[in-house]
Each structure stands twice: as C-alpha cells, then as structure tokens.
C-alpha cells in the first residue's frame, strides 16, 4: 500500500501494519521520543500495537529534540 511518511510517498507491502511495526520497519531512532501523527491526529502511545495503518494514510513522525541556534 501507498502511504505518505514525513511528506514522502512510500510503498509498504505488509498486511495488518500496526504503528509499532511501522516504527520498527522504518528503523525509527529514539522511538520513545517520537510522537506519531496519522492524518493530522496524534496517536496515543498505548494504541501503537493495535492501531493499523491503511492505504493513503499521511503519517508524521514528530521528534521533540528542538530546533537549534
């Protein structure tokens, strides 16, 4: 399926793709410091294991390390 991750369109061929699995597939660094937004809505951390990604979802991984000088 085609999804958009951080503005980039990507194809991921995996059924029943949870947010947790997506974080693993994308090898997201510091997953504890990332908030996941799907179609403009922040996903609760406790829902990562059971909330599934569907085709055309727009996903943002947002980090809170902050901008620099």
């Amino acid at each position: 399926m085609r999804v958009t991750i951080n503005g980039e369109v990507e194809t991921i061929d995996e059924a029943d793709l949870s947010i947790s699995r997506l974080l693993a597939i994308k090898q997201v660094e510091s997953p504890d410091m990332v908030s996941v937004q799907v179609n403009g809505k922040i996903i609760a951390r406790q829902a990562y294991d059971h909330q599934l990604v569907v085709a055309d979802d727009e996903i943002e991984f947002l980090y809170f390390m902050g901008g620099g000088a």
């Binding site: 951080n6 510091s30 504890d32 609760a44 809170f64 390390m65 000088a69």
Partner: protein
C-alpha cells in the same frame, strides 16, 4: 532478554545504536555543532521530522546517552538532563506556570528552592501557597483552577520530613494537578516515584548520581502519568505532542531558551556515576543508620533525626514508602551553636562542605550557611535551628566515621 536488576541496567543501558567507532563507553562528544550532509537533512531536523543533533545547547549525543540510561532506571517516559538540580526545578515551574498561575508547596524546602519560589518567581507573578504536606485536606483546599503544580521533596532537606506521596497523589489526581517531587535524596534507586503516583520527578544529579561530587547536574523525569490536556499552559501542546507535551515544551522552548543544558563532559562523568550508584547508596545508607544509632546514644547529642530510626516521626511513612533503606542524610542537635562549631572544627575525616551524598562524609551548620539569608523567624518556620547540624554519610569505613564523631564530640561542650 530483559535486564531486571537496577545495577545491570545502570551498567549496560538500553540496547541501542552501536557507537560510531564501537566504543564500549559513550565518548564525550565535545562539539558545539553537528554537521548535516544535505540542506534537506538539517531542515528536516529543525522541523522535528528527523532525530538528529544540531547544536549542543539543544541536544548532544553524550548527554542523550545519560538521559536514556536514567530513563531506563526510572521508568519514566522521557528524561531531560540539565545543568543543575536548580535548573531542573526552575525549568519545570516555567514550563507548567502561565500568567496568574500558582503552585502549592511546603515551607520545608531546600533553601535555594524556597528562594527560587519567593524571590525569583513571586515577583514575576507566580502565586506560592504554603501548606502542610502532612494534611491532604489542606492541600486540597489550597488548589484552585490556577494551580499548575503541587511541589514537594520526597525527603526534605534538612528537615528530613517524609511526605506520604501516595496520599498526596490521591488529591492531585482528583484535582487534575501534576504532582512534582524533588527526589534528590532518595533517587530512583531508593524510591520508585512512578509507582508512588508522582507525575514529575526532579533530581539534583550532582549528589548521589555524579559518583562522588564530580560535576553539577540535574534531571527532569516525566513519569507519563499526567494527562497534559488538563494543564492550562500545556493543553494546546498536548494536541500535538500527546503524552510528551511537557517534555516538548521543555525541549522546544524553556530548556532551549534558558540555556539550561548539561555539559557533555559532565554527562560523561554522571554516566560513570550511574554505573556504581546502587553500590554507593547501599553503603551510604548503611553508614547513615550506624551513625544515627551511635549518635542517638551519645550523651552530648540532644536529638537525632534520621528516617531510618524506628523512633523518628517520619519512620512509619518512610518504611512504607522506601522499604529498608532511608538515604544518607541525618541531622543532630547539640546544646547550642557553639557546641556545633566545636564539633565541626575537631573532625578529622568528616569534611566541612555544603554538599550531600558525596562519597566523602560531610557536615554543615544549616542555620549559618544555606539558610543564613533568612531571618531567625523564617529559619525556625522552615524547621532550621541554630543547634542543628546536617551530616551526610559517605561511603568510608563506618568505624572511622564513628571514631571521628566520638573525638569531635569530646571537644564539644554540653
């Protein structure tokens, strides 16, 4: 395989990315700026879409390694390391309090914390409401819609009162106010603040964690137990950052803008300290209990206050909350100030210095040092007396410490 033991986790940290050169110990990344290969990469980092370092006032690999290790030990959802314990307190209050806000706290606070609230924040408009932490109903009455935090110390310094955090937590949860606790004297090793219902844990890592007063530092731990949608200041941030709203506010605003960062070299030293923390704390607690028992039986000592003594007023709560270890700090009262000075001036091993939870045992006369800037009435109201000495038990051989105190007390009048 999960690492269950505190020491194992402290030594090995979380499994993560291999260090660039395979260094088994995280090196000191003493660099201000971090280069990116493309313009898009640095833009993505500024936009929060990529977890990379750009500037050491914001984040640094060595500091991040320390934060992640502390997170593993504490059970929090996020940890921020800062330049000092006072930076941890001030940053926390600045992140939680908006215009017209108030905090509910106690007068029995570390002297500089009291000064921060009274002399730094009050003139900026922060309301500071003092209550007895032994009276949950009083805390409940003091909270109103503008209350942004209930603030206390798990063990107060130097009064050594022990707040019943579970009881206070019931009030703060019902009133939707975060419970913020300075846990410096106990650390995550002796007191699991998350299990006790505390939302934010603050630490002066200068003390037990630094590994023997090697460096000044502090930490903020978000236990992930508070719903930030209930915070007037952070509700809008919670829509974007969810459970990380408090940490996002710190990292992207308060901590960044106040320049409260921990130096990479200090983070390195404090990571070394973390590894041996449990061994040192065990020894310090054992020494403190032995010293307290010795001093309680000495004819020149009018009173001993140590939560580990069965007769101490704080003992029942301390036993229930902390188990069998009660920290390394105790106080004694002699007949007057001169007697205190005579004891201090005749010690040969225990050092005269204003720090605590060092490897070295330390002694201080709080009335004429940390609290000297306050009037006698204010000092007494804060539970500080001219007859009181604060003793921080280090990790020396206890027989030497007892002999030193015996000799010192021999020179002290009664």
């Amino acid at each position: 395989m999960t690492m269950k033991g505190f020491a194992t986790r402290a030594i090995h940290g979380a499994a993560g990315k291999r260090e660039a050169f395979g260094a088994l110990r995280m090196p000191v990344y003493d660099s201000v700026a971090f280069e990116h290969e493309t313009a898009a990469s640095i833009a993505q980092t500024f936009a929060g879409r990529k977890p990379a370092h750009v500037y050491s006032r914001i984040s640094n690999p060595t500091v991040q390694d320390f934060e992640q290790r502390l997170k593993l030990l504490s059970g929090g959802i996020a940890v921020l390391a800062l330049s000092s314990g006072m930076a941890a307190i001030s940053n926390t209050i600045m992140a939680l309090a908006g215009a017209g806000a108030n905090i509910v706290t106690t007068r029995n606070l570390f002297g500089n914390t009291f000064s921060l609230f009274e002399r730094t924040f009050k003139p900026w408009g922060l309301g500071v409401r003092y209550v007895s932490m032994e009276n949950p109903a009083e805390i409940d009455r003091a909270i109103d819609s503008a209350t942004c935090a209930v603030y206390l110390e798990s063990v107060t310094n130097p009064q050594l009162e022990v707040a019943d955090c579970a009881l206070i937590g019931e009030v703060t949860r019902q009133r939707h106010v975060p419970l913020v606790v300075d846990n410096t004297l106990m650390t995550p090793y002796l007191f699991d603040t998350k299990q006790a219902g505390i939302d934010i844990e603050l630490l002066s890592t200068t003390k037990y964690i630094s590994g023997g007063a090697t460096s000044v530092g502090g930490a903020i731990i978000d236990n992930g137990t508070f719903n930030w949608e209930w915070s007037a200041k952070l509700a809008s941030g919670a829509e974007k950052a969810g459970a990380l709203a408090f940490m996002a506010s710190l990292r992207q605003e308060v901590y960044r803008n106040t320049g409260a960062c921990l130096a990479p070299h200090h983070a390195y030293l404090q990571t070394l300290g973390l590894e041996t923390m449990s061994l040192r704390i065990d020894r310090s607690c054992d020494n403190a209990l032995r010293l307290a028992r010795f001093l309680a039986g000495h004819p020149k000592v009018r009173a001993v206050n140590y939560p580990g003594l069965e007769g101490a007023a704080s003992h029942p709560v301390a036993r229930r909350q902390f188990g069998a270890k009660f920290g390394g700090l105790l106080t004694i009262d002699l007949v007057d100030r001169e007697a205190c000075y005579e004891l201090m001036d005749n010690l040969r091993i225990i050092r005269l210095a204003t720090n605590l939870n060092d490897n070295k045992s330390l002694i201080l006369h709080p009335w004429t040092t940390i609290y000297a800037e306050y009037s006698p009435e204010e000092r007494l109201a804060m539970g500080v007396r001219p007859t009181m000495l604060r003793l921080s038990a280090g990790i020396e051989d206890h027989d030497d410490l007892i002999e030193d105190l015996q000799r010192g007390l021999g020179h002290s009048h009664d």
